[in-house]
């Protein structure tokens, strides 16, 4: 049995965490996380178009949080961006994650959304580790593991000449 000094889990009992099961699961989590946001966004577009007024109202009420006055200011002054932006960006983030295209940039957008949901919903009755934080961790996981490289379009995009000439694009892809 081989031994990997950097990972003590790899020893007498083999879990094959870098095998096909890992890539399968990373891709699966990416697609389901994407569907979550796609569904939230596309149904808002169907029902409210690009005038999701609840978005700015939600942020106007986010006073007394760790984010200070930032979301309240945004709710008061950026309604022109928030009201079309919430349904549009939720939909695009979802599509990008499901396709695995520009995955890390899209997941970063998801992180922004989930921070606002986690802080703004303030449903901390069972502690700060709640379902909103778990959703936030899902997007961070997608970024950390470069989930778009597994059964995703980023695996192909990263092979193009443009990306090879500009390797830092891989920080937004993958």
């Amino acid at each position: 049995m081989s031994y990997q000094s950097s990972n003590p889990l790899v020893g007498e009992t083999e879990f094959a965490l870098d095998g096909p099961w890992a890539t399968y699961w990373i891709a699966f989590l990416r697609v389901v996380t994407g569907w979550w946001f796609f569904h939230a966004g596309i149904t808002k577009i169907i029902e409210s178009g690009f005038s999701y007024s609840y978005g700015s109202a939600y942020m106007q009420q986010m006073s007394g949080t760790a984010l200070g006055g930032i979301p309240v200011w945004m709710g008061n002054n950026l309604a022109w961006l928030i009201e079309p932006g919430v349904p549009l960006f939720e939909t695009l983030i979802g599509l990008a994650l499901m396709a695995g295209a520009v995955t890390r940039l899209a997941a970063f957008g998801g992180v922004i959304f989930m921070i606002l949901f986690w802080i703004g919903n303030a449903g901390f009755g069972n502690g700060v580790v709640n379902s909103d934080l778990m959703g936030l961790l899902m997007f961070l996981t997608v970024i950390v593991l470069a989930a778009g490289r597994y059964y995703g379009l980023d695996a192909l995009i990263e092979e193009t000449a443009v990306v090879k000439q500009n390797p830092k694009l891989r920080y937004l892809l993958g």
């Binding site: 000094s5 699966f28 697609v31 389901v32 569904h39 149904t43």
Partner: protein, 94 residues
């Protein structure tokens, strides 16, 4: 043989779960309101719209996918450990 079963377990479990979550979710969106698997009621409490596909069916597909993973886990428990015939986990040079 194990590779074939591995691949089949991955394909079947992901297929079932994604069918219940994504494919039937798309069908629900195309079918119109309600967009969540919950009936819509009016102010009097009367149901005015019900989901085309009941949440019991959609969740059953997800549970079936999880069950496939469980069956696969049971299969691995009752079969001998595979031979360590590759060097995938050797310490890599920095």
């Amino acid at each position: 043989m194990t590779d074939t079963i591995d691949t089949a377990a991955r394909a079947l479990s992901a297929g079932l779960m994604l069918f219940g979550i994504v494919v039937l979710g798309i069908v629900e969106i195309l079918a119109g309101e309600p967009y969540s698997p919950v009936p819509i009621t009016n102010e009097a409490g009367d149901v005015v719209a019900t989901p085309l596909i009941s949440p019991e069916i959609r969740t059953a597909f997800v549970l079936a996918g999880i069950a496939v993973l469980g069956l696969y886990a049971a299969y691995r428990l009752v079969t001998p450990l595979p031979e360590d015939d590759d060097v995938r986990h050797e310490t890599m040079a920095d």
